[in-house]
């Protein structure tokens, strides 16, 4: 496997993990604000 492909896969996985984490945080915060309101 060429280096560019390995790096692409690695960075896409990191990007997806970042997105998932961000979405979970956003969802949690939204749920919390709904309860408070």
């Amino acid at each position: 496997m060429p280096i560019w492909m390995e790096l692409t896969v690695l960075m896409l996985v990191a990007y997806a993990a970042g997105l998932a984490l961000g979405w979970l945080l956003w969802k949690g915060r939204r749920k919390g604000s709904e309860t408070d309101g």
């Binding site: 496997m1 060429p2 280096i3 560019w4 692409t8 960075m11 896409l12 990007y15």
Partner: protein, 248 residues
Amino acid sequence: MAAISRETLAVTLGAAIVVAIAVAGAGATGPRLAASLSEQAKVAIKQAGGAPVTARFTTANGWPTRHPLLSGGETLGEGTRARVARAIGAIPGVADIRWADGTTLAKGTEATPRPAVCQEDVAGLLRARTIHFEEGSSRIDQASQTLLDEVAAALRPCLGSIIGITGHTDSSGPEPGNLALSRLRADAVRDALLRRGIPADGLRTSGVGSRVPVEGLDPDDPANRRIEFSVVATEPIKPTPVDTPGPR
């Protein structure tokens, strides 16, 4: 609906940017990394005694890679090939080693290299050089320590076999003393190998005094003072996963 489309677009655009950064980054650093790994592999191959082997760090398309393809080692014994693969696998950054001629080592199949290969490797080492002892003593000469390192490395592929270490002396001096000395010398070599990580249960020592001189030599020739190794029982080893290490 429009909001979802905007989010999808943002995520897709983000992914495209990530891919672009990865490709550009690999383009900028990949060739240098592959060249560096290639240089280190050359040194490792030389040190492992696999001189005809070459490690190619480019794919069939010419792209730099961390997964080397080894070629040119067709004439080498399995022990030496395993040693070369291990040496290259130990270089930080190298992953998933393969042999161009497709071997048991690369694919991890059930082939069984002959343990006698170790005996040949060790005999080859000791053909040109000898483990020296201080005169009348079982203390190994300081200059022979490097040779013992190499002997231990050559024996490592044979772990699981029983390795015989036989001490010999020349015929000067009384034979009972020679016999005892030859045993002590064999024991000293065994102890030195133990210190180098060869397990004790695979080593058997014996001494034959001056009874078995080197063929063609006078019994009193000092060249008869020597240590011989033999693989006296065999338990075939299987190719190790070291040959195909995972990404680091």
